[in-house]
């Protein structure tokens, strides 16, 4: 295998376009990574504004700002936007920037496919968001678009949503294939699979899950389209179909999707914790096996989203146990992160703060997940704000915090400048406090029985909702500091040098900051690969 692994870039002749064409036609993994990250940041704010309208409506009981039908659209569009257009593209953006740098490659393996994967997304976003301008409004069946809400009772915009999902699916699958091929085929000759950085490992497994899961979502969306327009009966019991079938197909995609959004964040945290503990990652190999085990099990747990739809008892018991079993590899990871910090020489720069808060808060989300995994208890919790609290602890303080940690960690590498640490500390503490003000009370409201996805609520939930809404606005506004920090760092600042973090190891830190146009024009030597690899630490 390693005989032909000589990677030298041919002389770049036509690789420098200027102006707008540079960004539209680019095949450079760093430029495409930047496009992904900027796009996902814009979509984070778009989805965030929808969330703030929801929180403004819920600030007090009664209907103040929006009508119930529009509220349904808000909930639906918030979910779809955050999942498919903010979190997932941000993760792919990180992969684009970092994977070639971390494995010693000149670029992604299929650069034009890479460009295509990105540029599909803005058009998908357009198709999705145009629903707000159509008669009867934007899609309103929830991001999960259960039949028959999405078949019999849904507005015309649902068809635009279905095609947006198809396009986003193509984008994800192409992006994932590119990542798999890059990792398998473009590693520096001296880098064995087992020696790859954890971020690369988690992305390899995530990309596999994407190729496995996204086509199934496309299938579900196609069946909804056919039921809506071509007279089929997939989800219509009168014709021999079953609405519950939709949920099975959707969640066969949907549960791996949850891990698709969290595994790269695991990878980020596994890079940051050792760097700021100045110790190698504890139980490195077990971390890789744990990620593999989580991914393997993620395709056997989907029906835990459906405990209340009337599954046979045997199915409920099976899915309850498999779901609880996932806590074992997840527990291994949390234990290993904590053990890495044990007796390390810790410092608390912004990336480390976000990573540590990730460990705390994601674990809370994991525990509430265990509570929801318990069938009899789930009968009580399902469809309440407890579920909303759970999923936001894993998605916001999990995935999003992981992404923000990654940006603080690698921004000096990408821009060549140090960020303003004082501003970053303000951003962190404001966010970390307000996010708990926002989501923690939802646990109590949910356990007390407040239903989700309803624009009004009973009076006894008023205090918790008011607290949540205040937290939401502080959290949302705090992110403006983040944007300001990014703009500042991109425009200038103290030079970062090749290795701005003294404890950081990995091939990306052997390149200057910012890295040259095609990252590793020649592959790094075995000596460098070994010096930056895990053997050196141990």
């Amino acid at each position: 295998m390693s005989d032909a692994k000589v990677i030298i870039l041919r002389p770049p002749k036509s690789t420098t376009l200027r102006g707008w064409r540079r960004w539209l036609y680019t095949t450079d993994h760093k430029e495409i990574g930047t496009l992904y990250l900027v796009f996902s940041l814009i979509m984070l704010f778009a989805g965030g504004i929808l969330a703030l309208i929801i929180r403004a409506e819920l600030f007090q009981p009664g209907l103040q700002l929006v009508q119930p039908l529009f509220y349904n659209s808000l909930v639906t569009m918030h979910g779809l936007t955050m999942i498919f257009l903010a979190i997932m593209p941000a993760m792919v953006g990180l992969a684009n920037w970092q994977i070639p740098l971390m494995i010693g490659a000149p670029d992604m393996a299929l650069p034009r496919i890479n460009n295509w994967s990105f540029w599909l997304l803005p058009f998908a976003a357009l198709l999705l968001w145009c629903g707000f301008l159509l008669p009867q409004g934007a899609p309103n069946a929830g991001w999960t678009f259960y039949a028959p809400l999405s078949t019999t009772y849904a507005p015309p915009a649902t068809d635009f949503m279905i095609f947006a999902i198809h396009i986003m699916g193509v984008s994800s699958v192409m992006g994932a294939i590119n990542i798999i091929v890059t990792i398998l085929n473009l590693r520096a000759p001296g880098m064995k699979l087992i020696d790859m950085p954890l971020f690369v490992w988690t992305w390899l497994i995530t990309a596999f899950l994407l190729v496995l899961a996204m086509p199934v979502l496309a299938g579900a969306a196609t069946m909804v389209l056919a039921d809506r327009h071509f007279g089929t009966s997939f989800f219509n019991a009168a014709g021999g179909g079953d609405p519950v079938l939709f949920q099975h197909i959707f969640w066969f995609f949907g549960h791996p999707e949850v891990y698709i959004m969290i595994l790269p964040a695991f990878g980020v945290v596994s890079e940051i914790i050792p760097a700021f503990s100045r110790k190698p990652l504890f139980g490195r190999t077990s971390m890789i096996y744990a990620v593999g085990a989580i991914a393997f099990m993620s395709v056997m747990v989907w029906a835990h989203h459906m405990f209340a739809v009337g599954l046979p008892v045997a199915a409920q018991v099976f899915f309850m146990y498999t779901t609880m079993l996932i806590a074992v590899p997840t527990g291994i990871k949390v234990f290993n992160w904590v053990a890495t910090m044990w007796r390390g020489s810790l410092t608390f720069e912004a990336p480390m703060l976000w990573a540590i808060s990730f460990i705390f808060l994601f674990t809370i989300g994991g525990f509430s997940g265990l509570m929801l995994a318990d069938v009899p208890a789930d009968y009580q919790y399902q469809d309440t704000y407890f579920v909303v609290a759970h999923l936001h602890y894993v998605l916001v303080t999990g995935s999003l915090f992981g992404i923000i940690a990654a940006i603080y960690y690698w921004l000096p590498k990408w821009t060549g400048h140090r960020y303003n640490e004082r501003l970053a500390q303000w951003h962190f503490w404001l966010s970390a406090i307000s996010v708990n003000v926002l989501f923690f009370p939802m646990h109590f409201a949910g356990l007390a029985g407040m239903p989700r996805r309803i624009p009004d609520y009973a009076l006894q939930f008023a205090d918790f909702n008011m607290i949540s809404s205040i937290g939401a606005f502080v959290f949302g506004l705090s992110q403006l500091l983040f944007v300001w920090m990014i703009v500042q760092t991109v425009r200038g600042g103290e030079p970062a040098g090749a290795r701005p973090w003294d404890g950081a190891r990995g091939l990306e830190w052997t390149l200057p900051s910012p890295p040259p146009h095609h990252s590793f024009a020649t592959p790094p030597s075995d000596v460098i690969v070994h010096a930056e690899g895990p053997q050196h630490h141990e």
Binding site: A109, M214, S233, G239, G241
Partner: protein, 286 residues
């Protein structure tokens, strides 16, 4: 340019134009579904075809110029393999739907099994497959009989299996550099693929006209048409791909040692072949 270099493609307009074409085609189709004009979707198809053609022409040109090393070829191979895996998962969703309604949903509606209480919805409904009497037949086109596995479908199975053989014979011919045999076997494969599609369309006509089996015939019609239709679209795409590589081999492309384009198409062709075997087994026979 030495073969040892990993070729990183220079900037290209075709990916984004492809994205525009695909989005216009699909968005235009949504407009069409709501009584709008056909123009946007047709325009999308034209843009898409044009951009894909330019994109592939660029890749083929680079390949003929000898820019691709063995490592680049390995990227293509791996990429194509994983792409086919994603297609397998797409079909898996539809096969999964078939198995679910067949093994769970319909027996439950007929009063069997753990969720037999569903029988209360339509107490006269008796579980059976192929589903010719729907739980509420008055809402649907009731087919007179199910698709027979004999006749055209059996013949089509033979056609597709034979085409899998002929494409392999073409591959062997290419490997021993027997160009005429290569052209011949490719042409035979192409004709077999085209006949399959034509016969399948003929079957649809038969089903619609004579059996009253339509998309609106309950879940039997739904699974039958979506599974075979999706497969038929893949065969059609495969035929287009075969046409392209036949044209390329006539122009003298592909050598006995380097012919990834050919191999990718033959992998794809074997994939639609295998999917058909699953279809024939589970849609027609089972």
């Amino acid at each position: 340019m030495s073969k040892e270099h990993y070729f990183v493609a220079p900037p290209s307009p075709w990916p984004i134009v492809t994205a525009v074409g695909l989005s216009l085609m699909l968005g235009g189709f949504a407009v069409l579904l709501h009584g709008g004009s056909m123009v946007p979707s047709l325009l999308g198809v034209v843009v898409l075809l044009f951009a894909v053609q330019r994109w592939f022409a660029t890749v083929i040109g680079e390949n003929q110029a000898g820019l691709y090393s063995e490592q680049v070829n390995r990227s293509f191979r791996l990429g194509m393999g994983w792409f086919i895996f994603s297609e397998v998962m797409l079909f898996a969703a539809f096969f999964g739907a078939l198995f679910y309604v067949r093994e769970l949903a319909i027996p439950w509606l007929g009063g069997e099994g753990a969720k037999g209480a569903a029988h209360l919805l339509w107490p006269q409904f008796v579980s059976h497959w192929p589903l010719l009497e729907m739980p509420r037949s008055s809402d649907f086109d009731v087919p007179s009989e199910a698709m027979s596995p004999y006749g055209v479908p059996a013949f089509n199975t033979a056609i597709l299996l034979t085409s899998g053989l002929t494409v392999t014979l073409a591959h062997w011919a290419l490997k021993r550099n027997a160009r005429r045999a290569l052209w011949g076997w490719l042409l035979v494969t192409l004709l077999l693929g085209g006949s399959f599609v034509a016969l399948q369309l003929h079957e649809y006509g038969h089903a619609y006209r004579d059996l009253d089996l339509t998309l609106h015939s309950g879940v039997y019609g739904s699974t039958f048409y979506l599974l075979t239709g999706l497969h038929g679209m893949h065969v059609t795409l495969g035929v287009i791909m075969l046409t392209v590589i036949l044209g390329r081999s006539l122009k003298g492309h592909f050598t006995p040692t380097e012919h990834f384009g050919f191999e990718a198409v033959s992998w794809y062709w074997h994939f639609v072949d295998v999917v058909w075997l699953g279809l024939y087994l589970f849609v027609y026979w089972w």
